[in-house]
């Protein structure tokens, strides 16, 4: 099961900052485990940001993103209480999502 996500969305002078944390190993496929075996490639490929159900950012990412990814996105305007959703899917088809309200 995918590890936790955490998100904050804060309205500041007409712009909403969305900061989202995700638990993921983002394995490059080149790292060896303590037994000397290669750890298989395992990374998030897509991150989607929605505001009140409407997609506003579509991201494609690679194993070059750091382990436990952290992204900040910005939304024009926004109002307190707007529903923010972020979801991801990785190269194994595993997914996770979280949502919060703009504060």
């Amino acid at each position: 099961m995918a590890g936790p996500m955490k998100m904050r969305a804060t309205l500041n002078g007409g712009v909403t900052d969305v900061r989202v944390l995700m638990t993921h190993p983002m394995e490059t496929g080149q790292r060896k485990d303590p037994d000397g075996k290669l750890v298989p490639l395992h990374f998030i490929q897509n991150v989607t940001l929605k505001v009140n159900g409407k997609t506003v950012v579509e991201s494609q990412i690679s194993q070059g993103i750091s382990r436990n990814p952290v992204f900040t996105f910005r939304i024009k305007g926004g109002a307190k209480g707007d529903r923010i959703e972020v979801s991801w899917i990785d190269n194994h088809g595993e997914t996770n999502q979280t949502e919060t309200a703009v504060a």
Binding site: P4, M5, K6, R19, S66, R67, N68, V70
Partner: protein, 266 residues
Amino acid sequence: MKKVLGFCVVLGGAFCASLPAQDAKKEIQRYRQMVAEGSPAELFEVEGEALWKKPQGPNKVSLEKCDLGGGPGVLKGAYARLPRYFKDADRVMDLETRLLHCAVTLQGRRREEAAARVFGSADRPSEMESLSAYIAAQSRGMKMAPGLSHPKEKEAYAMGRALYFHRTGAWDFSCASCHGEEGKRIRMQDLPVLYKPEHARPVVSTWPAYRVSTSQFITLQWRMNNCYQQMRMPEPDFGSDTTVALILFLTATGKGEPYRGPGTKR
């Protein structure tokens, strides 16, 4: 003349670039600042909260009734007042030692089982690490004020101070061998002089922490353990009086600083 410092690439090490030393220092500080802003430490708080509330052990109860010093289940400000003396155990305990105590007394777990995996990995943090993240976070903004009035607290503080300056091991080191003189560094890493309050304050107010270089969440018990490893010493027992005394000495030296962790380390 401006002092020039070079910087080498990690892989290969053949290519070096130069920057004036002062700019380099400023840039590294900026790097640390930016990393701290994007720290995944909070993810461990989420896991820690779930663990705190999860029934475990033969008694099938959670840790929610664990008394961290402020009464059963009181988390707010608890971390900022540790280590401290606990009457029920008749000894001074830091957070992790106390959590182990609660796992045994409340959950009915065997001490060996509960302490079998106290230091986790990037793939799988230990229970102690996640719990520490969650509990420490409940002290944000509160001044660090470990116990220093009970005779056993005073005794532990004095022992911690003596341990700090005690030279032993295969390489004749004490803590002060590296953390003893101002303005020194190991490789590029600045070394805080931890018996001085102005150096201890920013340190004790940001542990436990997420460690960027290993993607692990690390605790003060881990820090003591790893320092002794690098001092070429045998291994200190988890939650031993030795480790607690050192943690109390360091925390007491940095007392008064508002807690702003869990932090981010190199």
